[in-house]
Every structure is written in C-alpha cells, then in structure tokens.
Symmetry: C2
Subunit: 242 residues, 2 copies
C-alpha cells in the first residue's frame, strides 16, 4: 500500500516540524519525504543504529526508550502525532523507537534533511521550540519518576491518556469521559519506572476506590476528572506554560 499526501493536506501540518514553513519550504520538504507505516510492536529505530531515521509521527503512538546492560528498561519519551523523531546531524541513535500501536511516519531522507535544516530558519526555529517543549516534559517526568508513588504515577499517565483521548475526539475534558489506554501494561511499567504487577495492582486499586471504571483492560471511564487530577498530585500552582 502506497500512502502519500501532500504536506498541505497533512493532518499534523500545523503542529509538526513544518509548522512554521511557508509554501515554497513545504515543497522542498515534500521532495524529500515519504510515508512509512509500522505495525504495533515493530521497532522503528534500534539504539546504536547508524544514520537513524528522521521524521514526524503522523498517527499512532510510539515510545522512546533506553536500557541498561542487564535489561532494565526505561521509557524516556512518548511520541504522539506531530512529534519529531531524530536529531539532525546525529550519527548514532541513542534510543530505541518502538511502535506502540500501528503507526504512520513521515520520514525525511536523512542527508537531505540535514542540509535543508541548515538553511531553513523556519525549520530550525520550530525544532528549537519543540525541543524545549520536550525538555520541559522530560523534566516533568523526572519529578514523577523520582518522587511520585505508584498510585500517583498511574493517575498521572491516565491524565495524559485522557487529554490525548479528548483531543482525538475533539471533546472536552470533564466528568464521565472515556478513553483508550494506548500502551500495554508492560510499556506503562517501563514508562513509569514500575513493574508490570505494580501497574496492574494500582489499576485495580484506583478501580476499587471508584476513581476509574474499567470497561476492559484498555478502556477507562472517569466519573470525576478533578478527582483523577488530585490522585496524580500534579501541582497546578507553579504552572508550566510557555
């Protein structure tokens, strides 16, 4: 199956690396891009790989992770549609990129992209903004990894999934919302720095407390959104925002 559409019709056009580009710039991107589909579980980039892929996640969810020699594994990023993959000019990939779902990626030809970005300020500027946003999220995640309890960690990912769900359905965040859990228990464990068993137990505990209702292992309803937020202990005060 040959997927292809012009940048102008791209669903992530205004949020991805190309967001600040004008028409002529888009055309140059069009020339060096191609769409590639990966199926759930597939590894898109292997840590250690040379001249790894550069591109944008168009749809689906992918994970960025890193392992210790003995196999302990930590997810270091969650890639959602419009997120950028790769670092221009980098020779070796430092992380595994794995498709959590079926995923569609807008890939750029590595060498061409590296050249293009050097004389396209709109690309460079967008990449800077996106990288800074990612740095903020990474730091937010450090707080979660270092200081939150297992229960708070689970509540925190659920908030993330709830936001993503509301966005996908163009619905409001609020009571009674329903969303999908796009990761396996194992992926969540890697994300949260927990074991699979602890993840499962905390889901059960939140269910028992009435914070969530589990339709099945992958579908959640939240009767009281504020309560979920509280369970996550997210400090609303020192509020991030640009």
């Amino acid at each position: 199956m040959e997927i292809n559409f012009r940048c102008g019709e791209c669903p992530i056009r205004h949020r991805a690396i190309c967001a600040y580009c004008d028409e002529p710039e888009l055309e140059r991107l069009d020339d060096i891009k191609s769409y590639k589909a990966y199926s759930a579980g597939e590894t898109i980039v292997w840590a250690g790989e040379e001249a790894p892929l550069i591109g944008s996640l168009v749809s689906g969810v992918a994970t960025l992770s890193r392992s210790l020699k003995d196999g302990r594994r930590q997810m270091v990023g969650l890639l959602l549609p419009s997120d950028f993959i790769g670092r221009p000019g980098r020779k070796v990939a430092p992380y595994d990129v794995v498709a959590a779902n079926d995923v569609l990626i807008c890939q750029f030809r590595v060498n061409k992209f590296n050249i293009l970005i050097d004389d396209t300020p709109a690309l460079e500027r967008r990449l800077l903004d996106m990288t800074m946003d990612e740095l903020d999220s990474a730091r937010e995640w450090m707080l979660l990894l270092g200081r939150k309890t297992a229960r708070e960690k689970i509540a925190s990912v659920l908030v993330i999934f709830a936001r993503r769900g509301a966005e996908l359905q163009h619905s409001e965040l609020g009571d009674g919302l329903r969303f999908e859990v796009p990761l396996t228990r194992e992926a969540m464990a890697d994300y949260l720095g927990l074991t699979i068993e602890t993840v499962s137990r905390q889901f059960s505990a939140l269910k028992k407390s009435g914070v969530i209702i589990m339709e099945d292992a992958r579908h959640i309803r939240v009767p009281d959104y504020v309560r979920l937020l509280n369970e996550a202990s997210d400090d609303s005060d020192g509020g991030v925002i640009a």
Copy 2:
C-alpha cells in the same frame, strides 16, 4: 564588588550560548549583559516568577528543581559552567534555580535578549544544540531515576563529579583521582530521588567496599575509576554522543 569582563576574555566563551558568535555579535551581547554573583544557598529564580532571568552560568554549580505541593522535591537539572539559564520568550519560570555554591552568572537583559536571538542565527543554533544536549541528559537521568538502585545512583553522581573535577583541574580521568562533592547530601537526595539518609548510607557502603575513600564528607578519592563506572551500571554500549 563590580565584576566585569569582555566576552572575548570570558572563561566560558567557547562553550556557552555565545559559542558560535563572531566578533560583531559578541559586541551586541556585551551591551546587554552584566555579571551578577550569588552566594551558596541563594535562590536565583523562583518557580512561578515572571520574566525570569536569562543568562549563562560562568562559575560554580546551580540546581534546577521542581516541587510537589506537599513539599516533595526533585532536582531536574544540574547547571555547570557554560550552561544556559532560562527559555527565551517564556513568561513564567517553571523551576527554582538555586545556587549550590557561590555562583557567577552572566545575565542578559530579558527583553533585549529575546529580540537579539530572533535575528542572530548563531545564537539560535547554539541554543538548539545546547537544548538537545540537555534533553539527552534529562533522558539519561530518567533512566537513573526510574531504574537504578540507590547504590548505582550514588556511583552515577560521583562519576559526574569526577568528570567535572578532572575538567576543572585539566587532569585526566583515571585511577587515584580526587574531587570535590559540590552538593550537600540533601541536594544529592533531591537530584537522585532518594532521601538524605539513603544517600549517606550508600556513601558509607561504597566506602566500606573500597570503591571510594572519603577524606571528609565533601572530598572523595577513587582508587579504581573503572570500578566506580561499573558500580554506576552506565551502559557504554548504546553510547550517546551527538
């Protein structure tokens, strides 16, 4: 005490935000900068503060941290000389910046800097590179926070301090090296997602195992550097590097 020197003589000239600037650009920076000293323990930027400082750390060590409402605290970054402080265009600081030592900062006038960076590609490009490096470190740290044991965590910071020490003295990393611990036990605990007591216990344990020799609480000698590296379980394989 009025500190001041021209950018050309600056000790961090070739590693800071100004690294890619040419002479005329440096002069423009010179116009909007001033040096400010902060003493150990002083808070340089408060989370939530408006129009927070933008600048470069010239000397000393500072910490970047974030707290939960109930007071749990996690350090999300360690600032060493040449590191950049602040995000251009950001209205509210999301983190506390605290001087761990006596610190010297090259501060820029916020509004002027925000304008300058918009038409100085050398600045923007350098900021992009630095931000990407920080993102890599943040992710490395996520692995530590999520998956390393207390002992590995301590060994890992010690490696960082050892590197910094070797750099300061222009000496080689190797056996028998000696360095200073520039953070209190409390700051280390916040950095590593541990308690102060656990930090202290692990120092004692590493001492007992002969991995380190403690001259006093703040000065360490390492008879066998490779052994320390192993204790940190840093995977040398999927080696990072740009």
